[in-house]
Symmetry: C2
Subunit: 231 residues, 2 copies
């Protein structure tokens, strides 16, 4: 009957028995106790992925930068502040995961010196020396055993070119490319529009929709790639 089909579908979620690790939100890199560098990531895309993955039956761990969002149901959440803390947590949870999605917008640079007292201002210009943070996605790509590793690329121009370069350079299985300048897409909004590109050659535009719908579509594409591998 129809009821049987629906129930069967509901009790047989597609990501059951899968372990998924997701990162979300920005990081903050302090200059002193008051000032810091950050970015416009709201964490909404990563939280939507975590929520939808949990709904599909996956065992979800969410490493979250400083955001004001509630923890989705059935998701294990670990809060971090800096790029270094994000790196530590992602590396620690990484080894036994089936799927890893780095949706966080992690700082690429941090101040070389972090003052433990408020810096007093003075006349004239100031130059802040910044150093590279660890490249989390590249490190995870190089550590990869059986994980299906997905990155995000937030770009403002030549988005497909930069996105595909990143896919290859970081040894990813797929990349979700985000034109943060497009209407309704990007950081602060509740909607998004992305292009999903996989190493195996899938290239699929996911047009403007809520971040939860985009999350469902991304997880469905990942699921299809994994099923394909299992054959």
């Amino acid at each position: 009957t129809i009821i049987d089909v629906i129930e069967n579908h509901l009790i047989n979620p597609s990501l059951k028995d899968k372990k998924i690790l997701i990162s979300a939100g920005p990081t903050r890199e302090s200059i002193d106790p008051i000032r810091f560098f950050t970015n416009h990531s709201s964490g909404k895309m990563g939280f939507a992925l975590a929520e939808e993955a949990a709904r599909l039956g996956a065992e979800v761990t969410l490493i979250a930068g400083p955001v004001s969002l509630n923890t989705p149901r059935n998701v294990k959440r670990v809060d971090v502040t800096t790029a270094e803390e994000m790196f530590q947590q992602m590396s620690m949870y990484y080894p036994n995961q089936d799927i890893v999605i780095k949706a966080a917008a992690v700082a690429d640079y941090r101040p070389v010196v972090i003052h433990d007292r408020k810096m007093k201002k003075s006349d004239g210009n100031l130059s802040i020396d910044m150093e590279r943070t660890k490249d989390i996605l590249l490190t995870l790509g190089e550590m990869k055993t059986t994980q299906y590793l997905v990155g995000f690329a937030a770009e403002t121009d030549e988005i497909l070119t930069y996105g595909k370069q990143k896919l290859e350079k970081k040894h990813l299985d797929a990349i979700v490319i985000n034109d943060v300048k497009a209407e309704g897409a990007g950081f602060a909004t509740s909607t998004n529009a992305v292009t999903f590109v996989s190493k195996k050659g899938i290239e699929k535009d996911l047009p403007l929709a809520t971040k939860n719908v985009i999350a469902q579509e991304i997880l469905e594409l990942i699921h299809l790639e994994l099923k394909d591998e299992e054959k």
Copy 2:
């Protein structure tokens, strides 16, 4: 009767017919469309001041940096993002105010160059050149005619010394000094503990309390100083 006394008190609020301008929250100074420089101000202290001033019958204008707080009742709110926008709005509303309280934590520095495309990262260190933003409080102090001008000092050490220097240097009538390292005080919390110092010589510790209570106490002290002047 007691009822008359209470009603009389309620319908005769102490800041009736006063115009108050309050700034709150942090500012954001962009490096590129994704990255920016900001601080830990939550806007809660300035919003509490606006709420309590409106409750006391004042005509309140609140210039707010990027915060996630609701507008208090009977408060006119103007949203800004950068230090320059904060400067423009504060200068525009300033001339016909009775009381001006700068509770915002405005960036002292901003990047000299704002990139209109996302900066691509490269290996090695990076140096970000920063320039001074306009000094809002000093400018308002110098423009002062009859306004009672109040600043905030968020300090991490030698708080009274730095606070009093600021009171004098910026031509303020009073300063609220905040030890952001003290337990329960500072930016993210709902409580605060401050010292109110006026040009006329009042020096009063306002011990740990909710930001709304601290706001009431600050407004009461300002009110007393103004009444004293009117005698």
